[in-house]
């Protein structure tokens, strides 16, 4: 884990070294000051030597200025190193995620990846800054102060040693106990926020069923639980400060008493006693600091783990060593294919699939929810790899092709599709970066999207909001189809991509496909009979197996499932969603 993280310091190594050094220099200066102060009092004030006062005062001033520069340099370089570390981390993560296969993405979930890129990285940035600036400063400060006090008077200094050991033991104990509770607090807290989130998204259900009070009651209970846990955790935490105080005070009193006896016995000067007392706060505060750094690091460990698992994740789909860049045609062949999302799961999602599709054929795929229609087509563009058997495109195993080339030729319009913020042109050019305006418009005409785009005030320059929230479902689907068409693929796969488009427009799109891109192999997944009935062949899937393959008429004749769906949809055009040109 450390190695993976350390790798991300690159480019900021210099800063990462200068920062702790500056901090140490600052600390040394800060330590020297009380020492000089003692000399100033003893040699200057006590003997009435104004020159000595000025001498030591001057030295102190110089120390303070050096300390200032060291401190500022620590501040600047610390900020730079940690900001740079975070920058590198985010970049590495983002780049890594870009190599992820669908299976990898599924594993981490979108929300999980977002958290890692945002919250976790910020946590690590803070922790790294803390480590650079405090991890060395505090212990060095502690050690230097101890050495100083020992050099003044070893007997008195041993009081501090006892105090430090005492506090270290108490803090370790306390932190452990508190940490456990805070861990619980965090979990509860996440649950609480999750339940708020639920309420926000499901507000219509809450209100529709008049469950406001019920929800408030539930929330009240959860909040009270959280309160109790929080109080428990914090009550342990608050004892830190009084323990600190008592120890400090005990030290002051002990030092005063023993110091007084030593002074009387002429073993100590008054100036030295003052210095001893000054170091008191220094030592104990730094100890607290060390404890804090420790806590910070422990707390960021979880983030570090989450980030490194992503960084160390191996993509499940890799480019072959000598990739083939030549895809001869759009024929597809499934040869004894089995597939499951997780290895070793009992029932494969797809089993015993044997299917041969000629280049330029139009294939309809129909079947109930969970019949694995999507899983089937996802194998063609190597979005997932088969568990056994082979999928061939253009007569060769898909795993032998260069992935980028393969995906350029196999264009999938995903079921859960998204548009990105940017103009319509920007979105279309995802399909082909260099597409001319003409080409974009042509693609939109094919996808029956041109009409409504022309209806927008800014036409093709209309800004699409994140996720395409400002266009209707049907419009979004047509834009996604146009985008996929711009790739000019050999194989085009529509995964339930016209479900929100009205029947008439759906038919127009299919007609356009037939006339304008006859050589492209087309796979159309749909719930609607009308979307597939004109296909060259229709594949009926049931529970991950091919139930029947044939033309519309053949299937009506001898496929019960198909017949059943057909009857359910009666005259075949039972869909009312008018094109959403509003």
């Amino acid at each position: 884990m450390l190695k993976t993280l350390a790798h991300n310091i690159k480019g900021f190594v210099k800063e990462s070294i200068i920062t702790p050094l500056s901090m140490i220099l600052e600390v040394i200066m800060e330590m020297l000051i009380p020492l000089l102060m003692a000399s100033l009092i003893d040699e200057g004030v006590n003997t009435g030597d104004m020159n000595a006062i000025l001498y030591y005062g001057g030295l102190m001033g110089i120390c303070a200025i050096i300390g200032l520069f060291a401190g500022v340099s620590g501040a600047v370089f610390g900020a730079k190193a940690s900001a740079g570390f975070a920058k590198n981390l985010r970049m590495s993560l983002f780049e890594k995620i870009q190599t992820f296969s669908f299976a990898n993405i599924d594993k981490f979930s979108t929300a999980g990846l977002v958290t890692r890129l945002t919250t976790d990285v910020t946590n690590l940035q803070n922790a790294y800054q803390m480590i650079l600036r405090m991890c060395f400063r505090a212990p060095v400060s502690l050690i230097v102060a101890m050495i100083m006090t020992f050099s003044i008077n070893a007997k008195l200094a041993s009081i501090y040693l006892i105090a430090v050991v005492f506090l270290a033991v108490v803090f370790t104990f306390l932190m452990k106990a508190t940490y456990k509770y805070f861990q619980q607090v965090f979990d509860r807290y996440d649950d609480l926020n999750a339940s708020v989130q639920e309420n926000v998204t499901a507000i219509r259900v809450v209100k529709g069923f008049v469950r406001e009070e019920h929800e408030v009651k539930k929330f009240d209970k959860a909040v009270n639980n959280l309160y109790k846990l929080f109080v428990k955790a914090e009550n342990r935490m608050v004892s830190v400060s009084p323990i600190m105080m008592i120890t400090t005070y005990a030290c002051i009193i002990a030092i005063s008493w023993f110091g007084a006896t030593l002074i009387v016995g002429s073993e100590l000067t008054t100036g030295e006693l003052t210095s001893m007392l000054t170091y008191c706060m220094n030592i104990l505060m730094n100890l607290l600091m060390v404890a804090m750094v420790f806590v910070m690091i422990t707390m960021s460990l979880a983030s570090a783990k989450r980030v490194t698992t992503v960084l160390n994740e191996e993509t499940t789909i890799k480019n072959p060593e000598n990739p083939d860049y030549n895809i001869s045609d759009g024929s597809i062949e499934f040869d004894n294919v089995y597939f499951s999302y997780t290895e070793g799961s009992e029932k494969p999602v797809l089993s015993n699939i044997n299917l041969s599709i000629k280049s330029g054929e139009t294939i309809g795929i129909i079947g109930g929810t969970g019949s694995s229609k999507t899983s089937l087509v996802n194998l063609i563009g190597r979005l997932y790899d088969v568990s056994s058997g082979t999928v061939k495109v253009g007569g060769k195993d898909v795993r032998s092709y260069d992935i980028e080339k393969l995906r350029d030729e196999v264009s999938v319009v995903l079921q859960s599709n998204v548009l990105f913020s940017g103009s319509i042109f920007d979105n279309l050019r995802w399909g082909d970066e260099n597409a001319t305006d003409e080409e974009c418009i042509n693609a939109c005409k094919l996808a029956c999207a041109d009409d409504f785009i022309q209806g927008f005030p800014d036409k093709y320059n209309t800004h699409i909001e994140q996720g395409g929230s400002n266009v209707s479902g049907g419009q979004k689907q047509r834009l996604c189809i146009a985008r996929a068409l711009l790739k000019k693929p050999k194989i085009l796969i529509l995964d339930d991509s016209t479900s929100a488009v009205d029947t008439a427009t759906d038919a127009r799109i299919r007609r356009a496909f037939k006339e304008e891109i006859p050589d492209t192999t087309k796979l159309i997944i749909s719930q609607r009979i009308s979307s597939v009935e004109n296909a060259d062949r229709i594949v009926v899937l049931e529970n991950g197996e091919i139930n029947a393959v044939g033309t519309h008429d053949e299937l009506l004749e001898n496929c019960d499932i198909y017949k059943e769906i057909y009857v359910a949809q009666t005259s075949g055009n039972g869909d009312f969603d008018q094109k959403g040109e509003i």
């Binding site: 000051i33 102060m37 006062i53 000025l54 005062g57 102190m60 001033g61 300390g67 401190g71 500022v72 501040a75 600047v76 730079k80 900001a83 985010r90 983002f94 995620i97 870009q98 890129l117 919250t119 910020t122 803070n126 649950d191 926020n193 999750a194 309420n199 998204t201 219509r204 259900v205 209100k207 069923f209 909040v223 309160y227 929080f230 914090e234 608050v238 400060s241 009084p242 005063s256 008493w257 007084a260 002074i263 009387v264 008054t270 003052t274 806590v295 079947g367 929810t369 990105f420 913020s421 994140q466 996720g467 009205d502 029947t503 719930q527 055009n573 039972g574 009312f576 094109k579 509003i582």
Partner: protein
């Protein structure tokens, strides 16, 4: 100690509160109101703690001058006075430590109590806000009130408040003590301190500016991350990886610069303050040394030592205040958003007609406590004070209704409709034609601009909203499930339903068989909005939930749209069972759902353009015919 929750406080918006003093006042009022005695005790304790500390510092002066110096060179030094003095100081210290402990202990309850109250207040308030609020505010923004804003408050209440108070007390008491030691030195000290303060505010201001920049850059980058992660599969399909890395790199570099600058200045405050503090120390030492040597105003060596101690304890609280400054500003911005939410107007409900259980006695409708399955509207006329009972039947009439989400933009025009009890009414039309909007008016998610809606002859405005909604079952296109067992999710429809009733409802919705296949059957806990269920299964649970509520009227908004045709056939059957005897409003784009309706209404641009039964509409050869056949007439 940085707040353990600090780790979450990274995505808050960077802007400052518009009226910080007012917000601060309101916040303090909120804290103080519920914790008067506690807060007073805390303040007293803090004062005691500070005084104990100050007297300890004062003691060092007396230690050297009054106890140690006289003993130096004495033949038989008498340690008794010293021992007495030390014991006294020790006692004070103990009291001080006890006071600190008490105050921080109490503050835990104050802080956490206030946090609890604020959370509960926000939540309760939120639950009572009209749907409109949720339409006009992004869910992310609402959530961030709970996560970011409330957390910044926690930090402020638990740390900043007490620390600022403590610092002020310390500064005042130290100042008094310093003056008592030497006025001229105090003045010199103050000059240096004000310089420190000046520099700090300058640097803090710089840092604040960059922090805002950082927040903006962070927001931008997070937005991009969210968008890209959501679209990651599309990125893969389009081989867009390199391009998105390039775009990301640019945003990432911006964030780096902003973050670097913000942290740079924030980090500087500490060392600048402490080194200026040291310079201050040196200046005081030299001048104080001169004073002591020349014996100005009776200034002594012990006095100088004490003074220098005070000098340290003077710059420390100032340091603290300046460090709390940023967190207070952030907390106030958070508090403002919390108060904004709390100031949103809640849904008004001035309805007085209520829904009660009823039974017929001698042909007369009577109110009863038991659940009879028969419901009545209890209508107490406002003028006469007479109470009238009217059986709940589910007759719904809309009379010339106009509606717009804002007064300026009317989206529904002159809608007339009447549904007799037990009738099924369907709405068809394009996305955005106003189908869902109409159903949202019946249960008063929104209030109409003009016209009347009557339920069993009663104006819905007179009906208590909660009772109105209780009488209307709701199944939406987007099913929402809660983190709880399947059983409880269905029971959501009627909280007092027995397990058997829940199972019966599940059977009605054809959900029973798949529920039994879940790992723990009905006790399977659903998480993340039922994410482990298929869309169709979730829809069935939603239907079961409506079924268990057993309402006289139903609103089905695209309830079966995500269920495939074959499954839908099964569900349709059970839905027909569910609809039997209930007035039902159906929005659907599937013919099978709509065809057997008593009346189908075709909506376009917020107007009903055609109405009639399926056969009538087909005969008309209008829009419905066109939609239905996919042909132009």
């Amino acid at each position: 100690m940085p707040g353990p929750m600090g780790r979450r406080r990274n995505m808050g918006q960077g802007e400052k509160a518009k009226n910080p003093m007012k917000i601060l006042g309101r916040l303090l009022g909120l804290i103080f109101k519920k914790n008067k005695i506690k807060i007073i005790i805390v303040f007293v304790c803090i004062i005691i703690g500070v005084l104990a500390n100050v007297q300890g510092t004062l003691f060092i002066q007396t230690l050297i001058d009054s106890y140690i110096t006289p003993m130096i060179g004495a033949e038989n030094p008498d340690f008794m006075p010293l021992l007495m003095a030390i014991s006294r100081v020790a006692l004070f210290y103990l009291i001080g430590a006890a006071a600190t402990y008490t105050s921080s202990r109490i503050m835990v309850y104050v802080t956490q109590g206030t946090m609890r109250d604020i959370r509960l207040d926000i939540f309760t308030h939120m639950e009572n806000l009209p749907i409109k609020y949720f339409d006009t505010h992004s869910h992310g923004d609402i959530m961030s009130v709970y996560t970011n804003d409330v957390d910044t408050l926690r930090q402020m209440i638990s740390q900043s408040l007490t620390q600022v108070f403590q610092s002020v007390i310390t500064i005042v008491s130290v100042l008094i003590s310093m003056i008592s030691l030497s006025l001229p030195l105090t003045i010199i000290n103050l000059v240096v301190i004000s310089l420190m303060f000046f520099v700090t505010t300058k640097v803090a201001g710089r840092s604040g500016k960059f922090f805002t920049k950082q927040q903006n850059a962070l927001g931008e980058e997070n937005g991009y991350i969210e968008e890209m992660m959501n679209g990651q599969k599309v990125v893969k399909v389009f081989n867009h990886e390199k391009k998105s890395i390039e775009e990301f790199k640019e945003l990432n570099d911006n964030l780096y610069t902003a973050s670097y600058n913000a942290n740079k200045f924030a980090n500087m405050i500490g060392p600048i303050n402490s080194q200026l503090g040291n310079v201050n120390y040196v200046i005081c030492a030299i001048i104080g040394g001169l004073f002591a040597l020349s014996g100005f105003w009776g200034f002594t060596l012990g006095g100088l030592v004490s003074f220098l101690s005070f000098n340290k304890s003077f710059s420390q609280p100032i340091n603290q205040v300046s460090q709390q400054f940023n967190s207070i500003i952030m907390a106030l911005a958070g508090a403002e958003r919390v108060f904004d939410l709390l100031d949103e107007e809640v849904e008004v409900d001035d309805g007085y007609v209520t829904l009660v259980n009823a039974k017929y006695e001698n042909g007369e409708l009577k109110e009863t406590d038991e659940r009879t399955g028969l419901w009545a509207w209890k209508h107490t006329h406002q003028e006469s004070g007479e109470t009238e009972y009217r059986e709940l039947k589910g007759a719904i009439v809309m009379d010339d209704v106009d509606f717009g989400y804002t007064d300026e933009k009317i989206v529904l025009h002159n809608v007339d409709l009447y549904a007799n009890p037990g009738q099924k009414l369907a709405f068809v039309g394009s996305t955005g034609a106003g189908k869902t909007t109409i159903t949202n008016l019946i249960n008063r998610f929104y209030d109409i601009q003009d016209g009347k809606i009557r339920y069993d002859g009663i104006n819905v405005n007179k009906i208590k909203k909660s009772d109105l909604r209780r009488s209307l079952g709701l199944v939406l296109q987007d099913t929402h499930l809660f983190t709880d067992t399947v059983m409880e999710n269905i029971r959501y429809g009627r909280l007092d339903a027995t397990d058997d009733e829940v199972i019966a409802a599940a059977k009605l919705a054809n959900a029973d068989s798949f529920i039994r296949q879940l790992p723990d059957g009905y006790n399977t806990v659903l998480k993340g909005d039922g994410g482990n269920l298929s869309q169709g299964q979730r829809q069935m649970l939603a239907i079961a939930r409506a079924a268990v509520a057993d309402p006289p009227a139903l609103i089905l908004d695209e309830a079966t749209s995500s269920i495939d045709t074959r499954t839908e056939k099964n569900v349709q059957e059970s839905m027909d069972n569910l609809m039997k005897g209930r007035t039902t409003f159906v929005i659907a784009h599937r013919l099978s759902t709509v065809k057997n309706s008593d009346c189908i209404m075709v909506l376009e641009h917020g107007r009903i353009i055609e109405r009639g039964t399926h056969d009538q509409l087909i005969e008309q050869k209008g829009k419905y015919y066109q939609l239905y056949t996919g042909k132009t007439a």
